[in-house]
Amino acid sequence: MRTLLAALAVSLSTVGASAQTAPAGSVDKGRATFQKVGCAQCHGREGQGSPTTGPRLGPVSMPWAGFSRYVRAPRQQMPPYTDRILPDGDLADIYAFVQSRPKPGTPAILRP
């Protein structure tokens, strides 16, 4: 019974997290903001990531809550973005932009 309750608690917390959906964001505004506030300098203009400076962000699999929490208080090397320099609305636009990045195919010259 205890295991079942624990599993239920995890399940509810997951639902809770996904319920914390991102505020509606604009992909176009997000693209511009992604460039303006410097995300692209380390993560690439399409959020594709770079091996030495920042991981791939788009299409992101991280929920909004985790994404926004990390941007505000990064646990690793990323510079922190407070809401003073990146308001929540702008961050939501960025989230919408990285969420909208398409998955690529496999270009012929990348095949082993």
């Binding site: 303006k36 506030v37 410097g38 692209a40 300098q41 380390c42 690439g44 203009r45 399409e46 594709q48 990531g49 770079s50 091996p51 030495t52 400076t53 920042g54 791939r56 788009g58 990064p74 690793q76 090397q77 510079p79 922190p80 973005y81 407070t82 003073r84 320099i85 990146l86 990045r101 690529p104 195919g105 496999t106 270009p107 010259i109 990348l110 082993p112």
Partner: protein
């Protein structure tokens, strides 16, 4: 460089020489036979130095003339450089391909001042460079004016903190002995730059004036120092008993044999290998070509994970062992935490423990280790391999086999993931760094290629196959900008006689420090493909500014100020064309890149240096 105006001597104020008496029977001797600098050339030839790089200067005019006339401009051949920094960096890159030092001539004053940053790079990168500096020590022999400002009491003092040895010979016999000693010191691991002063009087006076003709001394290199055998056995015991041993190599492989020996040790143990400099996270490239990047035991792409799991870590000629085993976080309060688990045994094997200086801090943070073996890594590997072999048992071999299989699967997954990651932003413009690396690999993979500079955010190490020693030569060492092009062209000079395709991935900011080296490549017909990673910024500094701006809640809107290289954009193709290169660009459409590279490679194959300017994303 400004030449000393010798005519000034006749007009200078001071005592007037008494005119020769009409009856003087001895006419003034205005010409002579062999000069001291001829003997210097004999000495340099005995060392087997193939080229001597220099921007011309009057303080070594005697030696210059001896090289081109007495020495017939052959072994050494004079390479005309447009900056002393380029001359030293060319020697730096050349050595890492050829394994033999180049010589560099420069003024002991202004020339050395120009050269000093490149000497520091060579020092940090443990590369021997053989510097010959012109100077006029005897004040009464200096022409008034420029020769005085180009003279110095102790020329080598400027670089003594980051050179291995120097001397100021006062006779030709002394020069001969010190020339041999300098070479021997430079070529004994840990390698490093050396300085020899070629006094102008010693260069210019006839040999007869120096007394009996000197003899060129015999030169015998010292064998590289091997670590103490008892300590080697202890390391072998740790490695054989370990569950998850990790070998980290930085400047280990001084020669191709070093790479072969590391492969042998790793395969014997089925141990994880990281070939990297740990000053970037995740680390992507080492100081030397230590280990094939696609080898199943190569775990460089998983370095943080395998280091965290390790119970024994052995650092092999790793400059920054602290950085390899600890993780620093660069936030408002800088903090470090161990990157290894508690109880992991840490070992270093390095010749840098045999020599140290205090002023410049290239020795990195003190690392607390369980065993520190003072000895050259490459020279110590055979003894370590034999010690490991003696300790092997069937049980351990069986455990090793299982470990090797696990590592191979993890490595294959990491390589596949990297390949998949490179496909993102494939059609973007500016062109993604992953696509640049992929397009370049597509064009060179069937050639005998050699990456002589550049890392393109680590993509080549992810997408290409490096399995030969000459395919990778590491980085600058001191991170002194301006290394890239001259080091690449120096390496290409060495690669030329082997018919290899030298590839330089050239950062735009780095190129502009001393772009005159492009002319040197064209003038001396040094074939090389240069691909400009043109992100229009000193981008590393842009990221630092972002960190500062965000930390202070001021944002990053103005981080480009002082960092961008734009408005106007530099036309690197025109720059290169103006100095005799084949050049194209800027290429901003990713679909145009492959054909542009193909045309440039065709030019290189005809013996011409070629450049493709690529508008890239920042990283």
């Amino acid at each position: 460089m400004v030449a000393a105006p010798t005519a000034m001597a006749a007009q200078a104020p001071g005592p007037v020489a008494t005119p020769a008496a009409a009856s003087d029977p001895e006419p003034e001797a205005l010409t002579g036979g062999r000069a001291g600098s001829d003997f210097m050339v004999d000495t340099i030839k005995a060392l087997g130095v193939e080229h001597i790089c220099a921007n011309p200067g009057s303080s070594f005019r005697g030696l210059h003339e001896s090289i081109i006339n007495y020495g017939n401009n052959s072994k050494p051949e004079l390479i005309t450089c447009m900056h002393e920094e380029s001359a030293v960096a060319m020697a730096h890159g050349y050595f890492k391909i050829e394994g033999k030092p180049l010589a560099v001539m420069a003024h002991g004053t202004v020339g050395l001042q120009h050269a000093s940053m490149a000497i520091y790079n060579a020092w940090c990168d443990r590369v021997p460079v053989y510097l010959l500096l012109g100077n006029t020590l005897d004040a009464t022999m200096r022409a008034p004016g420029v020769e005085w400002v180009h003279s110095v009491q102790d020329a080598a003092a400027l670089v003594r903190d980051f050179t291995k040895w120097d001397d100021m010979p006062m006779s030709l016999a002394h020069f001969g002995e010190s020339a041999m000693r300098a070479y021997k010191v430079a070529m004994t691991p840990p390698y490093g730059p050396v300085v020899l002063i070629a006094d102008s009087e010693l260069q210019e006076r006839p040999i007869a004036a120096h007394g009996a003709p000197p003899r060129v001394p015999q030169m015998t290199l010292a064998s590289p120092p091997q670590a103490e055998s008892g300590a080697v056995t202890e390391v072998a015991k740790l490695l054989v008993a370990a569950s998850n041993p990790v070998l980290i190599a930085d400047r280990l492989a001084r020669t191709p044999a070093g790479m072969a020996r590391l492969v042998e040790l790793a395969e014997l143990l089925q141990a994880a290998v990281i070939s990297a400099q740990p000053n970037v996270l995740p680390p992507t490239s080492a100081g030397r070509m230590n280990f094939p990047n696609q080898h199943p035991l190569n775990q460089t792409l998983r370095s943080v994970a395998v280091t965290a799991e390790a119970d024994v870590v052995v650092g092999l000629e790793i400059a920054n062992f602290y950085g390899a085993t600890n993780i620093m976080r660069d936030q408002l309060e800088r903090t470090s935490r161990p990157g290894t688990k508690a109880g992991a045994k840490l070992v270093t094997i390095s010749a840098t423990d045999l020599t140290s200086k205090s002023n410049y801090q290239d020795f990195q943070r003190y690392a607390e280790v369980d065993l520190a073996l003072a000895g050259d890594g490459e020279a110590t590997l055979p003894a370590l391999i034999e010690a490991v072999r003696r300790l092997l048992t069937p049980d351990r071999r069986s455990a090793f086999e299982a470990r090797g299989k696990r590592l191979a699967e993890a490595s294959a997954a990491a390589v596949a993931r990297a390949r998949s990651d490179a496909a993102y932003a494939w059609d973007a413009s500016p062109i993604s760094t992953g696509r640049v690396a992929a397009e370049l690999w597509d064009k060179i993979r069937r050639e005998d290629w050699s990456l002589v500079n550049g890392n393109l955010s680590g993509w080549p190490q992810r997408l290409w196959t490096f399995d030969k020693y000459h395919q990778y030569i590491g980085v600058s060492g001191g991170s002194g900008i301006g290394y890239g092009s001259p080091a690449a062209i120096g390496a290409a000079l060495a690669n030329k006689k082997y018919g290899r395709l030298s590839v330089n991935i050239q950062n735009d900011g780095d190129l502009m420090y001393a772009p005159g080296v492009l002319w040197t490549a064209a003038h001396h017909q040094i074939p090389i493909l240069t691909v400009v990673h043109n992100n229009r910024a000193y981008h590393e500094e842009t990221m630092h500014l972002q960190r500062m701006g965000n930390r202070r809640n001021r944002g990053v809107d103005r981080a480009h100020i002082g960092n961008e290289i734009d408005n106007p954009a530099i036309d690197y193709a025109k720059l290169a064309q103006s100095m005799g290169w084949f050049a194209e660009g800027p290429v901003s459409n990713p679909n145009d890149l492959g054909p542009a590279l193909a045309r440039a490679i065709a030019a290189v194959k005809k013996g011409q240096p070629a450049l493709v300017d690529v508008m890239t994303q920042a990283r």
